[in-house]
Every structure is written in structure tokens, then in C-alpha cells.
Symmetry: C2
Subunit: 539 residues, 2 copies
């Protein structure tokens, strides 16, 4: 067979050749843009020629601090397309972390959304490697700024070469992208994505039994482009010629609902928090969501009540998926097998609340202290993953040794696996509650509590206990109007029917809000500190 490298640039070339009329619909601060892949391809080529003129070479990191829009998509292809590295930076991190990330990755150029310019004004004197800043805006004039040199994206590419070629000498194992993931302790950790990893992951997203991304799709990723490449959907959707809808800066649930109706979105992807918000919007407004064939949900486990609401109330198919920054990210997806179609509706929801089976191309095993666990739906162990789109290290980081051992990525997620090979996340290894020598899953308790009507969100953390080592405490946010009307005993009684007595939380604390990470996950470490403060427990 021919030795043709798998490359990100060739995916855009395919879109230019076979889907030039298909559109990218992109909301920026100022307006809604509609560009087709013919135009996006030319703009990508112009951008490559400008990057080349500005001295960007193979392997150089090209940083972005940006929302989901078409210019961000163009950098997705231009940077790797010329052999450089797309480095998406999480705009919701602290200024300190952002400084660390940019310096650690040695970004040579930064592409910034206009509303992020004040942040960069604030930190730019700490950046040690950046040689140029480019603002992405529709406005003719750039804002006043102390940053130098500062360019306008549109002005730059207007002089670029629309026929500039994608680099022909790509090694498929060279870096195409990178993304930093928050760590429980210490600075964020960098993950490198190779051309090979991104192309194989895109194939996986197009499979009929995974996300089945197709030319006929209208895809609106709500997951940010600064977070694991928006789960890889911009790459796959471009390759397969889907229409893409990019909801832009600071979107609201209302904008998402409106865009779904207006652009007949067929597939969307995001974290449970987003879907809780959208659900509330759908219940208030009167939206036509009949075009939606799939809501993909990942990042953290979705409560069964959320899945049920989407499927039963709104007739929107809801798919749980699982992955991590280190896994590009798609690793498992929940779909019923053909012979499971005859199970009851309730059993289907139970199955849908699991994270699904492994995507073709990857390998998994689940280990406890006793070795590989049995696939019986009960035994818990840590999930280990292996495959061509799984990271093998953190970029220049000694913590690599903890997570990458014996050729496997140790996910830190505790799962059960049933006879069908379906995994269910029961906890993070460090959030499992060890009580009387047994494990209690904080996630299972949370999901059960969130199924209780008056509860909006629930998070369960451990407090130290002299007798039992650790005991669970439930932290609960109630729906509006229920404050002061729900007793601790009500919640415990609701749980008593589903769990052994020793699993029941020792206390229920009410909160206005559960602290969350920049990507919408519960910040259990922070919550644990708040709980310990309330109980006056010393660390």
C-alpha cells in the first residue's frame, strides 16, 4: 500500500473538493456569518501563507484564546495544515494558569477574540515567547492597546495567498494540536494531538455506531473549541461535509434553542450543565427541536432524569459518551445493541445512563487491587485505555509517570463493566468514599439525589470519620421555589429504597451553587473544603 500520511490538511482539501457549497454558520460578537467550505478553504490557505510570512515554521505553536466561530475553525486547519501546532487555550482558566500554559507551550503567536483582549492586556508582559498578537474581530479598527505587535485577522488574511498549498511533507506522527487539562494539584498538564490521532479519531466519529457524523448533518458543538478541540467535531464535520453552526461568544441557552430551531440542527455536543440549562429553556419557550437526531453528552455523567426529560418530554435522542483530554476525546459511546431493542423503556434509560461500549480502534481494561475486574456490572475498578488516539505523556511534565504506565493511560475514573462490555463511571479514583473498608460511589449517590424532583444539582463528598475512615455528605442545590421546603429526612428516605443503609449520607447541606470547573464539572476539591469548613474540620 502507498505510504500516504494521515494529515489534517487533507481533510480540508476533501471538503473544498467535494463539499464547496456546504456552509459554516458562525456567530461572532457583531454578526452572523455564512461561509461555505470553498471560502473557508481559501481563507485557511490565505492564513497559512501569512503565518509562513510571519515566520511560523513546522512544529511552532500557534495559540488561540477564542470562542466557537469560523475564524477559530480556519486556524484549526491552517496551523496543522502548514505543519505548525494548533494550541487551544481554555479562556476560563485563571490568568496565572494562562500565563503558565502559553509560556510552557512556547506559543509563538496568539489569536485572540476581541473580548479576551483585556485579559491579554493584563498578562502580556509575562509572556516570554509570543512574538505577535492577532485580534479576531469584524470591526474595521482595532481597539487601542499597549500590546505590540497587534494585528487584525481580516486585514492580515486579505493579503494572503488563496492558493497556498497544505504542507506535503507531513509526518503523521508529528504534533498537529495541543490542549492543557486542569490538574487536581499543580499546574495544568499539556496533551499533544498528532495528525494520525486526529484523523483516526475523525474516522471514529463518522462510524454509523458512534456519532455517525454525515454530510446531511447540521452540527452545533456547544462544547468549546478551546476544550479538547470541541471533542474533535470541527475536524470530522469539515471532512464529511456537514453544515456547522458555531454559537460564538458567551452564548445563552436561549441562543442555543433558537439556533437549533432556525438552522435545523441535527447533532449537538456538550456537558450535562449545558443540557440542564437548555432543558429549562425548552420548558419555558416553544421551540421546534424536531430536527435533532442526537444530543451527545460527556464531560461528566448525566443524571438519568436529564436523559429521561430529553427523550420523553422532547423526543430528543440523548447519547452518553465518555472521554478525556488525554483521549482526543471519544473513548466510549452509549448505544443500544440491536438485540437490546426489546428491553423495557425503563431498562433502556438505565442503559442510556451508562457510558457505553468502547469505540472501535481502542483497547480497554479495568483493574482493581486484585487485578482485572469481572464484567458483571458490579465490580469496580479503574479504567485503563490504549490506542492510537490516546496520549502517551503530558508535554514536558514529570507527572506523566503517574498517568501513563505499562503502555496504558490510567484514566483515574472508576467504572463497572457489564456483560455487554458497557462501562458505567461510578467515580473518580480520588472521589470514591472509603467507608468501613468498602467503597461508596459518590456519583451514584449524586445521580440518585438528582432524580428527586425538588433537587436541581447534587454533589457528594467525603468527610473524615474516626470509626469508618470516611463518610459521605450530600451537598444539594434545590430548584427555585423549593428552598426551605425540603428536609434532610425527605432526601434520605428517597435514597433509602435504592441503597444499603451504610451508603446513605450522614448529612445533607444546602448550597446556592456547586462550585464548577471552567468546563462545567463539579469542583469536588473546592466543595470538600467548604464542607469541612462548615463542619470545622481541620485538614
Amino acid at each position: 500500500m502507498m505510504q500516504i500520511p494521515l494529515s489534517v490538511g487533507s481533510m480540508m482539501e476533501h471538503a473544498e473538493q467535494f463539499f464547496p457549497k456546504k456552509e459554516v454558520i458562525s456567530q461572532t460578537h457583531d454578526k452572523l456569518h455564512r461561509l461555505n467550505y470553498g471560502e473557508i478553504g481559501q481563507r485557511t490557505r490565505r492564513l497559512m501563507s501569512i503565518l509562513n510570512e510571519m515566520g511560523i515554521r513546522q512544529g511552532n505553536r500557534v495559540g488561540t484564546l477564542a470562542w466557537n466561530h469560523h475564524r477559530h475553525l480556519e486556524i484549526y486547519f491552517a496551523a496543522p495544515g502548514m505543519g505548525a501546532v494548533l494550541h487551544t487555550i481554555n479562556i476560563r482558566l485563571s490568568p496565572e494558569d494562562i500565563i503558565y500554559i502559553i509560556n510552557h507551550a512556547e506559543d509563538k503567536i496568539l489569536f485572540i477574540d476581541e473580548d479576551i483582549l483585556p485579559l491579554i492586556e493584563h498578562i502580556h508582559t509575562h509572556l516570554t515567547t509570543v512574538e505577535a498578537f492577532v485580534v479576531m474581530t469584524d470591526k474595521a479598527d482595532l481597539p487601542e492597546s499597549s500590546i505590540q505587535p497587534l494585528y487584525s485577522y481580516e486585514e492580515l488574511i486579505s493579503t494572503g495567498d488563496p492558493l497556498y498549498a497544505f504542507a506535503a511533507n507531513i509526518d503523521e506522527n508529528q504534533p498537529a494540536g495541543m490542549c492543557y487539562t486542569s490538574a487536581t494539584t499543580g499546574k495544568p498538564k499539556g496533551v499533544i494531538y498528532t495528525h494520525r490521532g486526529i484523523v483516526l479519531h475523525s474516522f471514529a466519529l463518522g462510524l454509523a455506531d458512534t456519532a455517525a457524523i454525515s454530510e446531511s448533518d447540521v452540527s452545533m458543538p456547544v462544547v468549546p473549541q478551546f476544550h479538547v478541540n470541541a471533542w474533535g467535531t470541527p475536524f470530522a464535520c469539515t471532512w464529511f461535509g456537514s453544515t456547522q453552526v458555531m454559537p460564538g461568544p458567551r452564548f445563552t441557552p436561549k441562543r442555543l434553542a433558537e439556533f437549533i430551531e432556525r438552522f435545523k440542527v441535527t447533532i449537538t455536543a456538550g456537558v450535562p450543565t449545558i443540557w440542564l440549562g437548555l432543558l429549562r429553556e425548552l420548558e419555558q419557550g416553544n421551540y421546534d427541536t424536531s430536527s435533532l437526531r442526537a444530543v451527545l453528552c460527556g464531560g461528566s455523567a448525566a443524571p438519568i432524569g436529564l436523559i429521561r426529560a430529553f427523550e420523553e418530554k422532547h423526543n430528543i435522542p440523548f447519547y452518553h459518551a465518555y472521554g478525556a483530554t488525554e483521549t482526543t476525546p471519544l473513548a466510549t459511546i452509549s448505544r443500544l445493541k440491536s438485540y437490546q431493542q426489546t428491553i423495557t423503556q425503563e431498562e433502556k434509560f438505565e442503559e442510556r445512563a451508562r457510558q457505553g461500549i468502547l469505540v472501535p480502534g481502542l483497547q480497554m481494561k479495568v483493574i482493581s487491587d486484585q487485578g482485572e475486574v469481572e464484567w458483571n456490572g458490579k465490580d469496580m475498578g479503574e479504567l485503563l485505555l490504549r490506542g492510537p488516539w490516546i496520549a502517551n505523556e503530558y508535554y514536558k511534565d514529570e507527572r506523566s509517570n503517574d498517568a501513563f504506565k505499562d503502555g496504558w493511560f490510567h484514566t483515574g475514573d472508576v467504572v463497572t463493566v457489564d456483560e455487554e462490555g458497557t462501562i458505567k463511571i461510578v467515580d473518580r479514583t480520588k472521589d470514591l468514599i472509603k467507608s468501613g473498608g468498602e467503597w461508596i460511589s459518590s456519583v451514584e449517590l449524586e445521580n440518585a439525589i438528582m432524580a428527586y424532583e425538588p433537587v436541581f444539582e447534587a454533589c457528594v463528598v467525603a468527610i473524615p470519620d474516626d470509626k469508618w475512615q470516611e463518610r459521605p455528605i450530600a451537598c444539594v442545590v434545590l430548584h427555585e421555589g423549593f428552598e426551605g421546603k425540603v428536609k434532610k429526612e425527605d432526601i434520605l428516605a428517597f435514597l433509602a429504597a435504592q441503597f444499603p443503609k451504610w451508603w446513605l449520607p450522614d448529612d445533607v447541606l444546602y448550597f446556592d451553587e456547586i462550585p464548577k470547573s471552567s468546563v462545567g464539572k463539579f469542583l469536588k476539591r473546592e466543595l470538600r473544603e467548604q464542607v469541612r469548613e462548615r463542619f470545622s474540620i481541620q485538614e
Copy 2:
């Protein structure tokens, strides 16, 4: 990213882990077998251990002369799974060609169906490298034979190790399979398939916009397993957990129709001749074919009447695909784009009669003497292909230089490409008719003639002409009952409305049968000789 090789063995491991209950339904000479992937996996492992005991090592060629059945499927995974090479041999070739192929590939062991044993009896003294022969049969005793040593497949694997591991040290660029393709002149030419090529091609078969092979499918490849790995479907279907139905030795259209109804087949693949036969059967019998979601047709261009009959009369979606032994084979597939759904029914059939757009992962260009042709649906040129599942040479064969030039595979197929990037095969480079300095497409004339009700098959070839250089002659087989009732003038009048006058054949000759190759394609070279004899033309 981890350096994990793409390997054929890992596809079977995935099926064992995630689809152990799903079945392979296999018709042999004696009975219908039903085995699940748990069992198929164990039998594959037993076979690997036996091959190892028999001295088969990495890189050794394992030959098969067999129909479509589960034992053949097991060898598909066992040979590459242990690092050896699956070499499927076309049982319909001449004994001389089969001897050449086995000796040229240096097969070390041969797996033979029981009805093929007489052929091997006839030729085995000419085989220079084969050390052992294995007969695949359900019978307890082997037939009397002069071949030595001769083993029984079931007896051998009964002592094998069901836990034997797939080779861990696979290089994804090492050969996994090989297949010889007939040449217009000279001996058949060998094509090597690598692990990488087969896995990437399997990904391509699973994409929502190509064959969309899924766990929920019941797949019955009619294309033989000895022909380009049954178009790769046994690999993809196993990986994705589809139920597989293998119609076994010397099947009839009746058996195909019965199996479709009985096993609720959802997808099937084969050449136009097979579908012409099935169509006749469907029109005679009363079969329920409502389970079929896709009939894939390749190998040669299907006449529009055939497509129309499947879709309009039987409501069976019919997809044209294109490829070659050198392309693993899937290169293009015909699917309407989302914005083409509004065209008229007639336009859809026109579109469906084209071979479709390029599968993601490949590159194409179309060249004539003037360079790359315009994508206007009219200009003709030779199709060139490039990509990780396109061959880069013929195995130990000097003819490689003709077909593989400048990094492209020169298909020898003449196509037009329209604005959508959809190709249409208009001829083989060597079958194009050059008349008065212009090209006439023999295939377009054939398809037009076959759309004429009384015509069953039509083939158009050139005869030399002093004035025009070449002129077309139509060779026609009429449907039963029409013999002697259709005049040359009727056919030419039917064509006159569709083509310029100078395209019309100079004569129409009637035949009982058009000579066909072992895989059902018109043998134009042989037909051309017969035509020249009738006209007493000297070569």
C-alpha cells in the same frame, strides 16, 4: 499519542469482547452453521496455534481456495492475526493461472473447499512451495486422495489452543493479505494488503456516508471471499459486530432471495450480473425483502434499468460503488448529497447510475492528454487514485511501472466528473473507441442499449475502420422470447434519440451469451476476437 499499530487481529478481539453473542450464519456443502463471535474468536485462536505448530511464521503466505463461509472467515483473521499473510485465490481461474499464482506467491499451506479438491488433485504436482493441504469439510472422513500431506480443518483445530494470543509485534505496514487480479495480457498480478490498509478501509466502510456498516446490520456479501476480500466486508462486519450471512458454495439466485427473507438481511454486495439474476428471481417468487437497507453494486457499471427495477419495483435502495483489486477496493460510492434530495426522481436515477464521490481518506485526479480535466460532467480522462489503502505496486512484477507512476495508481478507467465531484465510469482506457479523432464510450452505449426492454445484455466493441480508425459494433443478448423479433434498426432507432449520429454502432450482432470473466465482468478482449472472426478481420 501512543504508537499502537493498526492490526487485523485487534478487530477480532473487539468482536470477541463486545459482540460475543452476535452470529455468523454460514452455509457449507452439508449444512447451515450458526456460530457466534465468541466461538469464531476461539476457533480463530485455535487455528493460529495450529498454523504456528505447522511451521507458519510471520510473512508466510497462507493460501485459500474457498467459497464464502465461516471457516474462510476464520482464516481471514488467523493468518494476519499471527503475522502471516492471507492469500485468497480465485477458484474460477484456469488451472494454469492457479498454478502460477500459488507458486508466485510461494504459498506454504493451502486451505481448500471439498469441491475444489479435484482441481488440486489435478495440479498439485506442479506446486513448488506448498508443504501442506487442509480440506474444509463437515464430513468426518476425508476423501481418498493422492495429495500429501492432507489434513481435515476441523480435526486440526480441535487440538488447537482456544486462548492463543494474536501476535503483539505487528508492524502495521506489514502484509496482512494478498489477492491476484486478472490482466488483459499475461499472468495475473498480485496485490498486497497491509494491516494498516485493511483497518483504514474498514473504518471507511463504517462511515455513515459510505456503507455505514453497523452492529445492527445483517450483512450478506455475495461478492466472493476470494475476490478482493469480499470487498473488505468480512473485516468491517466482524469489527463492528454485524451479523454475517455467508451463502456458501455454488449459491443460486433462489438461495440468495431465500436467505434475504429468512435472515432479514439488511445489506448485501455484489456485481451487476448477480443483481440481474436476483431481480429475475424476485420477479418469479414472492419474497419479503423489506429488511434490505442497501444493495451495494460494483465490479462494473450497473445499467440504469437495473437500479430503477430495484428501487421502483422492489423498494430496495441500490448504491453504486467503485473500486479495484488495487484499491482494497472501496474508492467511491454514490449517495445523494443533502441538497440533492429535491431533484426529480429521474435525476436521482441519473445520479445513482454514476459511481459517486471519493471516500474520505483518498485523493483523486482525472487526466487526459491535456492535463487535469475540468469537473463539468463531460470531459473524459483517466482516473488516478492515491491513499493509504491504494496499492503501490504489483507483487514482484515488472508491470508495476505501467500502473503505478508519479505516486498515483493509474486505474485504466476513463471517467467524467461533474461539479459535485461525482465520477462516472465511461470506459476502460483500452475499450474506448477512437472514431474520427474523437472518443466514443462503449459503456455509455451498452447502458443505453440495455435500457431497451427486449435486451438482456449488451456489450460494445471496436472494429478497425480504414476511414475512421475504429467503429463501434453492438453485441446483444435478448431476453427469452424476443429472439428473432428485434431488428438492428429498432435498436439503432432507440439509440438515435440519445447520441450523436457518429456514435451509433455500425452493426448489431446477436449472441446467446457474452463471454465473462471469473468475477462476472464482460471479457471484451474475447468478444472482440469473436466479432472480428464474424467479420473475417485479421488481427
